[in-house]
C-alpha cells in the first residue's frame, strides 16, 4: 500500500473533527465538556493503542503517564508562569523520557511480567503525586489551572476550549495515522505479529519496542496536558491504577489495533456512563453490564465486530484497516 495515500481512516478523522467543531452548538456547556473529556481520554487511549494494539505491550501505567503530563502542565502554567504550548511540549517530552527510562529495564520482560513492572511504576507515580506535597499539592491537588490562549484568543469558555481540543486531538491522531503507515509503524506491527521473523528481517526489536512504548507514553502526557486545563483542577485520584485499567478496557472495547478504536473505546468509557444517568441510581450497574456483554459478544471490540459484519456483507476483507495479519 502506498504510505502517503489518504484512506478511510484519514477521511473519518478529518470529517469527525469538522463535525465535532460544530457539534456543541445548542448542547450547553455540560455536553461540550463531556465531548472535550471524551477527546482528551481518546488521546490517552490512542497512546495505549499504539503500545498494546500495535506493538503488543501490556502496560498498566497509562494513567500514571497521563498524571505526569497533567502535573507537569499544571505546575508549569500555574507556578512557573509558562504558556500552555511549551508546557504541552515539555509534558510530552517528559513522558517520552519516562517511557524510555521505564521501558529500558521493563521491556526485558514480556506479557504479564511487563504488566507487573508497569503496575509498580503506576503505584510509585501515584505515591509521589500524593506525598510530595511541596511540589504537587498532595491530596489537596492544584486548582485554578489556566486555559491556553491561542493566537490571542482566550479559551476560558467551554466552546473555544472544546474547539481547541478538537484541533489538538486531530493533529495528534493524524501524526499517529502517519506513523502507523510509515516504515516504523510496519516495524511495530511486525514486532507484535512475529518478533523472531521481524528480527530476521533486520528490525532492531529492542529499539522499536522501546520507541513504541515511549511514543505511547508521550501521548498519555499530551492527554494529561489537555486534561489539566479542561478540569482546571487536578489531584492524584484520576491517575490511580484503576484509571489505567479503565484506559486498557477502552482500548480493548473499542477494538485493539484499530486506528479509530480509541475514539469508540473512549466513547464507551466516558460518554456512555454520562448518557446512562437518566436511568438513575443503577446507571453504573447498567454500564458494567453493557461492557461485559460487549466483550463477550465481540472480544475484538466494537470495530472488530463492525469489520466482521462488513466482511460478511462484502465477502471480502476490508482493505483500509486490517488487524494486520499479513503485514510482516
Amino acid at each position: 500500500m502506498n504510505t502517503s495515500r489518504f484512506d478511510a481512516v484519514f477521511a473519518t478523522l478529518v470529517l469527525g473533527a469538522v463535525i465535532l467543531w460544530f457539534a456543541p452548538a445548542g448542547m450547553g456547556r455540560y455536553g461540550t465538556y463531556v465531548l472535550s473529556l471524551w477527546l482528551v481520554t481518546a488521546v490517552a487511549v490512542m497512546g495505549l493503542n499504539l503500545t498494546l494494539g500495535i506493538a503488543g505491550l501490556k502496560s498498566l501505567a497509562q494513567a500514571a503517564f497521563m498524571g505526569i503530563g497533567a502535573y507537569a502542565t499544571a505546575l508549569l502554567t500555574t507556578k512557573a508562569g509558562i504558556g500552555w504550548f511549551p508546557a504541552f511540549a515539555i509534558s510530552g517530552v517528559l513522558c517520552f523520557a519516562a517511557g524510555l527510562l521505564l521501558g529500558f529495564p521493563a521491556l526485558r520482560v514480556k506479557a504479564h511480567y511487563l504488566a507487573f513492572v508497569t503496575l509498580a511504576f503506576s503505584t510509585l507515580v501515584w505515591l509521589v503525586l500524593r506525598n510530595e506535597q511541596w511540589l504537587t499539592g498532595g491530596v489537596f491537588g492544584i486548582s485554578n489551572i489556566p486555559r491556553p490562549v491561542v493566537f490571542g484568543v482566550k479559551t476560558d469558555n467551554a466552546l473555544p476550549f472544546h474547539r481547541f481540543v478538537v484541533v489538538v486531538t486531530l493533529v495528534l491522531a493524524l501524526i499517529l495515522w502517519w506513523l502507523v503507515r510509515s516504515p516504523w509503524g510496519r516495524a511495530f506491527l511486525a514486532l507484535r505479529e512475529n518478533p523472531v521473523r521481524a528480527a530476521s528481517l533486520g528490525v532492531n526489536i529492542r529499539a522499536y519496542t522501546l520507541l513504541a512504548f515511549a511514543i505511547g507514553s508521550a501521548y498519555a502526557g499530551f492527554a494529561g496536558a489537555l486534561y489539566a486545563p479542561l478540569v482546571e483542577f487536578i489531584d492524584p485520584s484520576p491517575f490511580q491504577l484503576s484509571a489505567s485499567f479503565f484506559l486498557l478496557l477502552m482500548v480493548v472495547a473499542g477494538g485493539s489495533g484499530y486506528q479509530l478504536g480509541p475514539f469508540v473505546g473512549a466513547l464507551l468509557g466516558v460518554v456512555l456512563p454520562e448518557w446512562l444517568r437518566f436511568t438513575g441510581g443503577i446507571y453504573l450497574i447498567i454500564f458494567a453490564a453493557i461492557v461485559i456483554g460487549l466483550l463477550i459478544a465481540c472480544p475484538q471490540g466494537v470495530l472488530g465486530l463492525l469489520e466482521r459484519g462488513w466482511t460478511a456483507v462484502r465477502r471480502r476483507p476490508l482493505g483500509s484497516n486490517p488487524p494486520a495479519k499479513e503485514t510482516a
Binding site: G28, R29, Y30, G31, Y33, V34, L37, R130, N131, G138, V139, F140, G141, S143, N144, A158, Y227, V231, E232, F233, I234, D235, S237, P238, E274, R277, G281, Y283, L284
Partner: protein
C-alpha cells in the same frame, strides 16, 4: 348583564391564572458521591436532602412553589463532579447542593462561582473557604474551627500531655491533621506518633500496634466512617487502652454501628449529631430512621440543613433570584424561629464558613451521649 360579565371575568381569570399547586416547580440539583470512596457520606447527605424536600413540599413548598430534586452521582471523581455540576447549572438548577468530599468540591467550585450560583457543600477541609469564592457555603464547621476545640478538650478534659495522631491520607484527613498539629503545639501537647493510613484501608492491625507502642496519653483518630470503625476494632484487638478522641466522624452513628463494642469509650467533639440535646435534631433523627431504616450521621443533618438554608434565603429575598440567593446567605444568621429546618442558630461568615454551637460527647453502651455544649466562637 353586568353580573354575567363579572362571572365571565372570574371564569377567564380562573382559566388564565394557573392554580398555586400547578405552578412551575423549583429545580434543585444535588451532585454528590453515591459511588466510590465517598458513598457512605454521600448517601447520608442525599437522604437528608430527600427528607428536607419532602418536608418542605408537604408544608406548601417555597414561596408557594414545590421543590423538584435531582441527584447526580460523582463517582467520587473530580472530572465527573465537574461534568455533573456543569450539567446541573445547564439544566437551570436554582442552587447546587454538594458534593461532600473536598477534592471534588475543589474541582467544581469555580463553575458555580462563574455562573454566580450558590453551591452549598458538605466539605470540612479548611482550604475550601480560603480561595475567596463568594458562592461557596458550608453546612458544618470547618476543620480550622473544630480543631482548636479538640486541642482544648485534650488538654482540659482528657488531661493528655502526649497524643498519637492517626489520620487518613486524603484531603479530609490530611487537612485535619495539618490543622490539629499546630493547635496541639499551642496547647503544649507533645505528638508521640503521627500515623498516616490509606483511604479504603482494610487492615489496621499494624497501625494499632504502632499506636500501642507510642504509648501516648490519648489517641486522636481522624478517619472516614468505615476506616474509623475498622481502626477501632483493630485497636481493641491489640489491647490499646488509652482514650480514643475524635472529631464528629469517629462518634458518628455509622461508625458506632460498624465498630460495635469497640466504639464504647470513644469521645470527642461533635459538630452535628442526632443525639445532641436539641429537640429538632432528635426529631430529625426519628424521621430519618422511620424513612430510611437506619440512623443518620452528621452528613444527613448537613443535607437537611442545606435545603433549609435555600428555603430561608429565598423567603428572605422574596423571589427566586440565583445570585440574590448567594448574596442573602452571605453573612446571614439563621435562627430556628425563622426557619425551623435549620434546627440550630447558624451564622454564615462572609467567606462561607459556619459558626454554631457544638458538643462534647462520649460513646456509652453503643450510643452517643452528649456531655457538654460548646458555645459559638463569635456569637
Amino acid at each position: 348583564m353586568q353580573q354575567s360579565i363579572l362571572v365571565l371575568g372570574i371564569a377567564a381569570a380562573a382559566v388564565l391564572a394557573p392554580p398555586a399547586a400547578a405552578q412551575e416547580k423549583i429545580k434543585l440539583v444535588n451532585v454528590v458521591e453515591l459511588s466510590g470512596a465517598g458513598a457512605t457520606a454521600g448517601t447520608n447527605w442525599k437522604n437528608g436532602i430527600d427528607l428536607a424536600v419532602a418536608d418542605i413540599n408537604a408544608r406548601g413548598g417555597v414561596l408557594g412553589r414545590q421543590i423538584e430534586i435531582v441527584h447526580y452521582d460523582t463517582q467520587t471523581n473530580p472530572g465527573n463532579t465537574r461534568a455533573a455540576v456543569q450539567r446541573a447549572i445547564d439544566e437551570g438548577t436554582y442552587a447546587v447542593l454538594g458534593p461532600v468530599f473536598s477534592g471534588p468540591i475543589g474541582a467544581s467550585m469555580q463553575i458555580a462561582q462563574r455562573a454566580e450560583i450558590a453551591q452549598i457543600v458538605g466539605g470540612e477541609a479548611a482550604g475550601l473557604t480560603r480561595q475567596g469564592n463568594q458562592y461557596l457555603f458550608r453546612t458544618s464547621l470547618s476543620q480550622s474551627a473544630a480543631m482548636p476545640k479538640i486541642a482544648a478538650y485534650l488538654k482540659n478534659t482528657v488531661k493528655a500531655s502526649s497524643v498519637t495522631v492517626v489520620w487518613v491520607n486524603n484531603d479530609f484527613g490530611k487537612g485535619g491533621r495539618d490543622a490539629i498539629l499546630p493547635e496541639l503545639q499551642k496547647a503544649g501537647i507533645r505528638v508521640a506518633a503521627d500515623i498516616s493510613t490509606e483511604q479504603g484501608q482494610a487492615d489496621f492491625a499494624a497501625d494499632a500496634i504502632k499506636v500501642k507502642n507510642a504509648n501516648a496519653d490519648a489517641v486522636f483518630v481522624y478517619l472516614n466512617e468505615e476506616e474509623s470503625a475498622r481502626f477501632l476494632r483493630a485497636a481493641k484487638q491489640q489491647g490499646v487502652d488509652k482514650p480514643m478522641v475524635g472529631e464528629t466522624t469517629l462518634l458518628g452513628s455509622k461508625v458506632i454501628e460498624l465498630a460495635g463494642d469497640a466504639a464504647n469509650g470513644v469521645r470527642g467533639h461533635v459538630g452535628l449529631s442526632i443525639d445532641a440535646p436539641v429537640p429538632a435534631f432528635q426529631e430529625f433523627g426519628r424521621k430519618f430512621q422511620a424513612r430510611f431504616n437506619y440512623a443518620s450521621d452528621h452528613n444527613g443533618l448537613k443535607g437537611y440543613m442545606a435545603v433549609a438554608m435555600i428555603k430561608w434565603a429565598t423567603e428572605k429575598q422574596r423571589k427566586f433570584d440565583k445570585k440574590g440567593l448567594a448574596d442573602t446567605l452571605r453573612g446571614a444568621t439563621i435562627t430556628p424561629a425563622e426557619e425551623p429546618g435549620i434546627m440550630i442558630t447558624t451564622k454564615i461568615e462572609a467567606n462561607g464558613d459556619l459558626d454554631r454551637e457544638s458538643y462534647l460527647a462520649e460513646v456509652e453502651g453503643g450510643r452517643q451521649i452528649i456531655k457538654a455544649t460548646l458555645p459559638m466562637i463569635n456569637p
